[in-house]
Amino acid sequence: MTLDLARTVVGSELSERSLRGFVLGLPGVDAVGLEQRAAGLATRSIKTSSKKRALDTIVSLIDLTTLEGADTPGKVRSLVAKAVLPDPSDPSCPQVAAVCVYGDLAHVAVEALGAHHTASGGSIAVAAVATAFPSGRASMGVKLADTADAVAAGADEIDMVIDRGAFLSGRYGEVFDEIVAVKEACRRPDGTSAHLKVILETGELATYDNVRRASWLAILAGADFIKTSTGKVSPAATLPVTLLMLEVVRDWHRLTGELVGVKPAGGIRSSKDAVRYLVTVAETAGERWLDPHLFRFGASSLLNDVLLQRQKLATGHYSGADYVTID
């Protein structure tokens, strides 16, 4: 179905040539202007009632993440406990949107979430990274198996990486086809499908023009979300890159009426930073995007900073790192 939209936008034939013509025909990005606009948005001053609302919104948009070689079932269970009850001292604190883990630990997260899992009527989803995360350097068969495996283990969302090598060497059709295939592998036996987040790894794409092209390719191929980074490459998410990706989903919506989400991941550690992202979302794509279905933060340490800020707003004074739990 989604490819029908791609055909409407690109043309009846989705070939290497037509896709290349399309992405290279996109308007350019002026780096200075983009960064200037992002800096302008970052000067918004969010105070008092707006700040309180922003902090709660941030919590509800977090994909609480652990992606380490050293991850264990115990670590994942601890992360899940934090996701369910971010601030034990304040039950009014919203839950996070999802936990994000490696595919082999997805089943642990599903079990630990229990009734809180979206599949069991709760509100927290399980996201699993797949397709030879983070480098994406594996054959197609391995990537598809990786994806299918995670979906079978109960993952609701798959965070795939694009083949940056193919992209940078100009094989846009290959990148596109791979996303289409992974999207297919997200299908469950019952006909439903895990949501697909496509990681562009913008730090490796290097230019804003490339980020715009990769965003369009991913959306055309059926991405439910476009995501900035794996968190393993520096720079990870930046405000200008996220602004640019938000402009793409906004344009896609104008063109087709379809809604695609954006997920900046990596490097967003403070509430102050996260509030700037909220402002950028609301003033670029629209307030409608401030919803877990359309915007996420891929983060781990951000949550605790937000909790400290929430406590400060509630009590009037700062507590300290020992007044929030480590996960």
């Binding site: 308007p27 990005v29 002026d30 700040k51």
Partner: protein
């Protein structure tokens, strides 16, 4: 309530320590004015902020005399490096008092605090830092060795960037060794008076900077004062003409920075999202109260619809309201008169058949406000495409080819600035080369830097401000007759101590005269657009000597 209804985030006024009334700043002191005082009001609330003195003929004369005295006795004799020290000190004080100045500026002018805080005041400091660096390097300003200061500069500035225009005027004048009498705009005198406090704080010798507040009449007296050597004016073309007429035939040099009706040209291959930002910044920055505003959008027909749609969507996110709120994008119109003019021209635009569209925004009950407005399908003959509106009103015109864009862009009596939006570097260069505008921005708009000269073609005025060129407006090449000047004195001490400084001056000036029959001073004056005969020049010199002999 939605997230986008940001809670109020007002900048505190507590930092301001305003006096209930301000006098004129003459000879290092605040003194009473003899004209009829007036109140300066906040255009956002119409509340009176402070009572301001008005200078009459006597006050202007006192100020010019003080400036002449300071010029003759102190400033022209001081070494360039010492003048630089004072300017550096002023720059640092501006930085130290930046928040206070920003709040005062927004209060008095109506511009959003984010602009006064992030644009105006930092640029003011930058201007003083920049020209402080030039003060001891005038030999390298490109005017030949040992250029002379002109003497007393009478400077008149507008209300759109009150403190920034003050910096544009005072910093180069002082660096070059002149002393100044400055008249701020009637509706925005506040920051100039705070600047006078900074001048005191910096210990600047008395009389080097004098500030005389008042209305147009006070400005006229300043322009016409016989002992003023240089007139620098920023403001409307009508007043600029009047000034040019008033000083014609006198020895006075003049710089005029007047109106504009800039074309912002968007080609179909432009970086579209950034172009939208640039269009917004071009015309809605400072409520469009910008002489170099990109008030005529020339957009290629093939992307016309897309650009206008995106522009409307973007304008809908602009926040109009309290200038002191940190989230305000569009502040108040500076005065009731200006609002009246904007309304009048907008109504004419509508009557002439252009499609009017305004962003929906709540207009506060008190104060002067005008919602960001676009006129689409404007014809080149329409008044809103030809006259400067000086408000948040954009006229959209289309073109088909680069040649047509250039022809339409140049088809205006003005020529202050222009913008080009395209991804193609070669096109930027080719088009910029053919635009008759003093400043051409490529893929950006309304960006200022002290190192970059600024000024106009045609009815936008003459002379340049900023950069090395800005110094030329306050310097003359070595005199044909020996005259002890700032740069000359310095030179004689610094590098020519072996031979007598004055003799040296003479011989060099003689060498110059032999090259050309035309005295260099006259050539220079003509370049500035005013014909002055050699006779009038020398007679004025004796006049100025008379003025100072007391």
């Amino acid at each position: 309530m939605t997230f986008l209804d940001y809670a109020p985030a007002p900048e505190s006024r507590a930092i301001l320590d305003l006096k209930p009334s301000y006098g004129l700043f003459i000879d290092g002191e605040f003194v009473d004015g003899h004209g009829e005082g007036f109140h300066t009001i906040s255009p956002a609330s119409e509340e009176a902020i402070a009572e301001i003195a008005a200078g009459d003929e006597h006050d202007v004369d006192l100020a010019v005399r003080a400036a002449r005295r300071a010029y003759e006795r102190v400033w022209s004799r001081m070494s360039g490096s010492d003048r630089g020290k004072y300017l550096f000190r002023i720059a640092r004080l501006v930085q130290e008092r930046a928040r206070e100045l920003a709040v005062a500026e927004s209060l008095d002018n109506g511009k959003p605090i984010k602009e006064s805080r992030d644009v105006d005041v930092p640029l003011v400091a930058a201007w003083f830092f920049y020209y402080a660096g030039w003060a001891d390097k005038l030999d390298h300003a490109g005017l030949g060795p040992a250029p002379r200061a002109l003497g007393v500069a009478g400077q008149i500035i507008p209300w759109n960037f009150p403190l920034l225009m003050l910096a544009w005027k005072i910093a180069p004048a002082l660096a070059a060794g002149n002393t100044v009498v400055l008249k701020p705009a009637e509706t925005t005198p506040l920051t100039a008076l705070l600047f006078a406090e900074i001048v005191q704080q910096a210990g600047l010798p008395a009389g080097v900077v004098n500030i005389v507040t008042g209305a147009g009449e006070t400005g006229r007296m300043l322009v016409n004062h016989p002992d003023v050597d240089k007139v620098a004016f920023t403001g409307s073309t009508a007043v600029g003409r009047e000034i040019a007429r008033a000083i014609a035939g006198t020895h006075k040099k003049v710089t005029l920075e007047l109106g504009g009706k800039a074309a912002n040209i968007v080609f179909d291959d432009a970086p579209i999202d950034q172009a939208i930002e640039g269009i917004v910044n071009g015309i809605f920055f400072n409520q469009g109260h910008v002489c170099c505003a990109g008030s005529r959008l020339l957009v290629q027909e093939s992307v016309h619809e897309e650009v206008v749609d995106r522009l409307k969507a973007r304008l809908s996110t602009l926040r109009l309201g309290d200038p002191l709120d940190k989230n305000t994008d569009i502040g108040a119109i500076n005065s009731a008169e200006q609002l009246q003019r904007i309304r009048q021209l907008s109504d004419i635009g509508e009557a002439e058949g252009a499609e009017r569209w305004s962003a929906e925004c709540a207009i506060p009950d008190r104060g002067f406000w005008f919602a960001p407005t676009i006129f689409d399908n404007v014809s080149t003959s329409s008044r809103i495409a030809r006259e400067e509106i000086f408000g948040p009103v954009l006229s959209v015109l289309t073109f088909r080819t680069p040649d047509e864009a250039i022809a339409k862009a140049n088809n205006t009596p003005y020529g202050l600035s222009a913008g080009i939006w395209t991804d193609k570097g070669s096109r930027i260069l080719a088009v910029a080369d053919r635009l008759r505008a003093g400043v051409v921005w490529a893929n950006t708009f309304n960006r200022f830097d002290p190192a970059s000269p600024f000024g106009g073609y045609k009815e936008s005025g003459y002379g340049r401000e900023g950069g090395r060129h800005g110094l030329a407006a306050y310097l003359a090449p070595p005199a044909a007759t020996p005259r002890r000047t700032a740069a000359g004195a310095e030179r004689s001490i610094a590098s020519r101590s072996a031979s007598g400084g004055l003799e040296n001056e003479t011989s060099r000036a003689d060498a110059r005269t032999t090259i050309s029959e035309t005295p260099s001073a006259d050539t220079d004056t003509r370049r500035e657009g005013v014909t002055a005969t050699r006779a009038s020049r020398s007679s004025s010199k004796s006049a100025s000597k008379k003025g100072s002999a007391k």
